[in-house]
Each structure stands twice: as structure tokens, then as C-alpha cells.
Symmetry: C2
Subunit: 420 residues, 2 copies
């Protein structure tokens, strides 16, 4: 089905808050086989809310509206909907009862009036009988409109638990079948990826390729359509392997894969462990590894050796090395990695030291210069990269590159294809 | 002036990529005194691009379009604009010359054809004569339309360097003066903040308050308008102090302040240092502190003691404590913080140990249980929090709370107002 997403809130149009809910909804709806015509963000302005909703109803099969449903005085969505669709505000006693119970569970002093949440446009149906801040839906001209909270977690839960399911069983629509696979690529420029894949485009009208820089990675989407599930799946089967082949070993995974998840599976599968010695990243590599549930099976921890003193004290880096070659050097990266293996019984020790900027660069070692050390029972290797970007971008590139060096080491791949 | 922002890309409507450029543009335009009527996101569909642009031109004073300008085959914005505004594609030799020079500077094997970038709708003016991937602008019916790349960094640079300035000197528009201040709050629920401030609303039509959960913080915006700069500034002066007063010491800063920046300024101002001993956050607190340029002046580093073995080896935590009270306990947090102060000469040692989930919880210590230790030359304090949310949310809450405990300690505040 063809859908529109409308996000409401002055905080969004004034750029105070990044809109992540429309993005999440689009991804989930797309994965469920729907297509999104437009995502519109507007302020808490009742007239504009009404006009935007009416236009969406004219051209889409369903509409999702997020935000402006809360108890505070700047939440105006329900009033706008009542007016635009001529559905007077109506009191829903069951909803009020549920909200009252929730309100009483709040600590004393926070028991704000939540009665407003029980006044909804006529014809509203609660989406969830248990959720404390339920959204609702209306059917207008045979088309469903879903109203969800703007708070990302509440919105996501309701979308997944109720909206996707209701749309899947909606009557009377011819569904165009869409299949998509997203490839995750690290260490290749977008233009090089386009060069490798361009010859696959335009030959088959059912096939579409997309190139998306998702810093510090590039994601490539392969989208195929068909009038039936079988046709869409056959086309996906035909092209998926070709795309993967041309991307080569810079493609670390697909779909919901993350680089830290892939590295974690490789380590867990071998019963091996990793620890990190981080300078310029300040702990980002360690934190990224621990985003994965169960990472304690292979991640021991490590040292954030941000100051030279901690490099010496906690990792046993020889002061001579720092005086002679500098803290940002291959020698120091090697000493950090090897030092970490001395103080903790770990299989793979990954060290990173570099200049994140904006200060600290020199002609020899400009901002973005980052050395990596990787010490294993067999040997220690060092790597030099020069990244460009702002401080936090250099940190993100260094973290992602460090994890990718570990992935390549675990898979026995060379490091030749990197272009960062 | 009243503006619209249109973001173009299938990667956005399919939910593959989060749209951060519209958010950035809205924030910058708002800060420059403009108002955004709508932010629309659509796919690479020429007809829809044309219709969306025409509607924006009808109701706004200026339009900003991002995305779809690149060299790859799925970039269709220019073709759509040529068709919708009846401005045939025209070859711009100067732009081609500049692009050619850039193309030759790429490594061999990546020299893709960039000629497409020199074909623009008739009447286009390059926005920047130096940028390698310049955007352009057109004037249609007396209204400027700016076309910017979808790549966030390129778009941001061009917006700040060219668009904001051109709009500031645009002729013939009455400019409504807007002033905004955003307060950053940590450790108070949105509903409690609304309760504290609600009495300030509705008394003065020039004043508007907004409440925005920006996980794990809440931001509060105070927006005032006036027919003149003086009036707007006088209103801001009148209300800014009142809002700050009612928010109290849970408000750590305003505007571009970050909690890590505020903590850093407090430490730097006293010539003091901090180090971190992190378990469940895996390095997030350290990394957050190093996001601030110049943080090496006060941040030494620390230990990511994710495994119990590293807690013992690197921090000297007594194994008896872990056997008796568990690694997630006040005793262990205290031992981690005090151990860190033993191995590094630091003023403030912050330790965190908890259960991020989804596994590992128990009846006594459910998922979200996090203990903090803060060791200073004078004493060691421990704190217990119970957070709710997914694994990465618990990690983010723990990191933010740890930094806030440090801020409160440095300012001599109690910890009474937290409600997380």
C-alpha cells in the first residue's frame, strides 16, 4: 500500500529535535512491503495539520501521524483532527480509567492532569488496550489514519505491535510486492561502489539500486518488485549474489548486521577474546563492542590511555618511545597493543592512537592521522590511516576502521581495498 | 521569512537513512529569524519532486531542496526541476572545468564521470565558486530556491556559508523577529518540567514554551517574538531568568551547551582532572568526555573493566567483593573508583557498574540497575539508579547520569532532584 507519514511538532520545524520517528516508520513499512510517498514535518499549527492530513488522504492509501498527542499545552493534534475531519472531541471513559491508574502510579508531585488524553476525535479506536499512552486510529473514506505519540520509544512500540499488523490484513488493496536487501560496506567510497555496480542498472525494470552514505559506512540497497511474491523473490535471488560479488570483501554484512555484531560473531564462533587500548577514540571502540547484547562472551574491556601518563602506567609503554616517535606513531600503537596483551590474558589486542583535532596536527602528522596496532599470539601489525573530517568524524572513522581491521584479521583478508 | 525544506532520496522514504540535513537546516534558519512552514521528504520521483516544489513556491517565501544532485544514476532532482519549472538543462562550462579538476585529483580507478554535475536547469547560479560539489540557486517568481547536496557535511557547509547570508539580505520582505533560548535539563521528567512552567504560558501572546525529550535529556525552548529586535530582546530578557529559576539545578546549560562540555569547563577552570572506570557502559563516558576538543587538559583516560578479571587486574578490585556482593554492587563501584585513584594520579575517579540487559537481571537487581562510585581526595560516594529501556538506552542513561553526578559534585549540589 502507498502511505504518507506526517510528523508534528514545533520542536521539529525549529530544528531543536531530530525527527527519528518518521525514519523508523519508513524503514519498517518499507520492509513490510509498503511504499512511502512523502514524509512531511510541520509545526503545532492546527490549520496546517488539517490541510496536510486532507492532502495525504487524497493521494495515499494510509496515513501515519506522530506527535502532538501528549498532555502538555502545546499538543494540538487532536483538536486539529477534530476540526479538519468534522469529528467532534469525544470523551472516552475507558481510556480515562486507564490513564488515571497510570497517573496515580507516578511519584507524588508529578501527578499532572492527564484527562486531556481521554478526549479524542469522534470514531477513534485505541490502538492498544494496555499501553499507558496509547495512540489511536480512525477510518476516513475507507482509509486508516494512525495517530502515534511523538516520543520515539512509545511510537516504535505501537508501530511494531499494532500498525504494521493492522495494515497487513487491511481489505481491498492490490499489494505490489517489494523485496529489498541492504548491503553494508566499509572502506570504499560511494563513487567507487557506483562504478562497480552501474552496469547492473537499467537492464531490468524490476531492479533498482540505491547508494547511501551512512557515515562512516556506505549502504547499498537492492530493491526488486514483482506482481507476485514469487516473482519478487525470484528477482531478488537472481541479483542478490551479483551485487555481493561486485562489492567484494568490503561488504561486511547486510540488513540488520552491524560491524560490531559481525566481529562479535566471528570472535564468539572461535571462542576468542578481544580487548582495546584507546587513545584518540576515548572509549568509542569499547562502547561500540558492548552495544551488542552478550558481548561479555568475547570482550574483556581495556584501557582508555588518553594521557601519555596512562599509556605508561597502565600499558607499560616505554617513555623512550613517546619521546622518540611521539604518542601518535606506529611504535606507540605497537607498544600499546603489546602492553595490553601483557596485562590481560586476551587473544586479540587492538590499539588506536591518533590526532582527532581540531588542534594537535603538524605537517608530518596532520589532523586525522591515526595509527592502529593489532597484537595477537602470533604477531603484532601496525596500520596508518589519514582520515578527514571534524573531530567526532575522525573518532567515528577511527573506531569503525579499527573494528574492520579486526574483522579482516579474523577472516584472513588483506587490507588492500581500503580507500579512506 | 517563511521557508520550506524539501529533502529528496529513496534512501530517506525507505527508511534506510536518517534525514539529518532538514533538521540542521531548520535549526540554523530558525536561529537566523526565519520560520519553517513544512519539511517534506520524498523519493527520487521526478513528478512528485516537481509538484512538491511548485506547492512550496505557492505558500513559502523561499525553498531549500537537498539531495539528488550527485553523479549517480539515481540522482534525478535536476531533471525534475528542469521539467517542473520549464527550465531546460543547460551546460555550464565553468562548473565543468572545476569538476574536471576535482575528478583528476581522485585516485586512479575512482575517476568516475562527473560531467552530469555540470548540467543544471536554465538560470542556475552556482552557490560557491570554490566548493568541489557546489549547490546552486534559482529565482522563480521572485522567490529564491536553493539546491544543496544531500551529503550532510557538504550541505551544512554550503547552508552556513551561502544560504543563510543570501537570505539575510533578500529584498522586500517584512521580517518578524524571533528569539529563542533552549534549556538543557537532565534528571527531570518532561511532565514535571511542564508542571513547573505551565503557569508562564498563555499570559503573554509573544511567549511560547516547548518541551522536547532528547533522550536521555529533556530540552525546553523559550521562544519570543516581536515586531522589532528591541521588542523581541526585551521579552527574552524578561522571561529567560524566570524559566531558568523554575528549572533549578537540573538545568545544566542552554543553547549549544553539552553536559560533557559543562563538566569539562568546570574541571578546566579548577585545574582538576578526571578518569573513568567503566563496566556496563564499555567506554561511553570516556568517549563522551573526549568529544570535547581540548579535553586532554582534564581527562586522563581510565579502564574499561568489562570483565571481572579486568576489574581485579587493572583496578585491584578484591575478588572477595565480587564473590560476596557481586560485580554490580555499591561495594564494587566503590572499589573500582578507589582502585582507579590508586593506579593513576587523578582528582576525581568516576566508576560505573550495572546491568544493561537484556539478560543478566535478577529479582534483587533487575535490568537497569546501575551503581556509581565517585572517589575524590576527600571521600568516596556511591549511588544507585534503576533505569528503564533497552540495552543502549540504559547505557546512555548511565553515561549521562555519571557525568551529571560529577557536575553536581563539582558544583556542591545535592542529588535530590533526580527522578530517573
Amino acid at each position: 500500500m502507498l502511505g504518507e507519514i506526517i510528523a508534528i511538532g514545533d520542536e521539529l520545524t525549529s530544528g531543536s529535535v531530530l525527527n527519528t520517528t518518521s525514519y523508523f516508520a519508513a524503514g519498517q513499512l518499507f520492509a513490510a512491503g509498503h511504499e512511502i510517498l512523502a514524509m512531511t514535518t510541520i509545526g503545532d499549527a492546527p490549520d496546517l495539520i488539517g490541510r496536510t492530513l486532507q492532502r495525504a488522504l487524497q493521494r495515499a492509501d494510509f496515513v501515519i501521524v506522530t506527535g502532538g498527542l501528549g498532555p502538555t499545552t502545546d499538543d494540538l493534534t487532536n483538536a486539529a483532527v477534530s476540526s479538519a475531519l468534522a469529528r467532534p472531541a469525544t470523551f472516552y471513559p475507558e481510556i480515562f480509567k486507564k490513564i488515571q491508574a497510570y497517573g496515580k502510579s507516578l511519584p507524588a508531585g508529578q501527578q499532572v492532569s492527564l484527562e486531556k488524553l481521554a478526549w479524542l476525535p469522534e470514531g477513534a479506536h485505541a490502538l492498544h488496550t494496555e499501553a499507558k499512552m496509547a495512540g489511536y486510529f480512525l477510518v476516513q473514506d475507507g482509509k486508516p489514519i494512525f495517530f502515534l505519540p511523538g516520543v520515539p520509544q512509545e511510537m516504535k512500540d505501537l508501530l511494531l505491535e499494532t500498525v504494521i499488523t493492522r495494515l497487513a490484513v487491511w481489505d481491498g488493496e492490490e499489494v505490489r510486492q517489494v523485496r529489498q536487501k541492504v548491503y553494508k560496506v566499509v572502506g570504499l567510497a560511494e563513487s567507487e561502489i557506483n562504478r562497480r555496480l552501474a552496469h547492473l542498472e537499467g537492464r531490468d525494470p524490476r531492479v533498482r539500486l540505491g547508494y547511501y552514505p551512512v557515515f562512516p559506512e556506505v549502504h547499498v540497497s537492492l530493491t526488486v518488485t514483482g506482481v507476485s511474491s514469487q516473482e519478487a523473490e525470484a528477482a531478488m535471488h537472481k541479483y542478490a549474489g551479483q551485487v555481493a560479488g561486485f562489492l567484494g570483501d568490503c561488504c561486511y554484512g547486510s540488513g540488520a548486521d552491524t560491524l560490531e555484531g559481525v566481529v562479535g560473531r566471528l570472535l564468539a564462533g572461535r571462542g576468542q577474546t578481544v580487548a582495546v587500548a584507546e587513545s584518540c577514540t576515548g572509549g568509542l571502540i569499547g562502547h561500540t563492542l558492548t552495544k551488542v547484547a552478550g558481548s561479555s562472551a568475547y570482550f574483556l574491556g581495556g584501557v582508555v590511555a588518553y594521557s601519555n601518563g596512562l599509556k605508561e602506567r597502565l600499558l607499560g609503554v616505554n617513555r623512550e618511545i613517546i619521546l622518540r616517535s611521539g604518542a601518535v606513531s606506529a611504535e606507540c600503537a605497537r607498544a600499546m597493543a603489546e602492553g595490553l596483551r601483557r596485562v590481560t590474558p586476551v587473544d586479540h589486542a587492538l590499539a588506536v592512537t591518533g590526532i582527532a583535532g581540531p588542534a594537535g596536527g603538524s605537517e608530518d602528522k596532520p589532523v586525522g592521522t591515526v595509527y592502529f596496532g593489532l597484537a595477537t599470539p602470533e604477531k603484532t601489525q601496525t596500520f596508518l590511516f589519514r582520515f578527514s573530517g571534524e573531530r567526532t568524524q575522525v573518532q567515528a572513522l577511527a573506531s569503525q576502521t579499527g573494528l574492520d581491521l579486526l574483522r579482516r584479521h579474523l577472516l584472513g583478508l588483506d587490507n588492500g581495498c581500503r580507500t579512506v
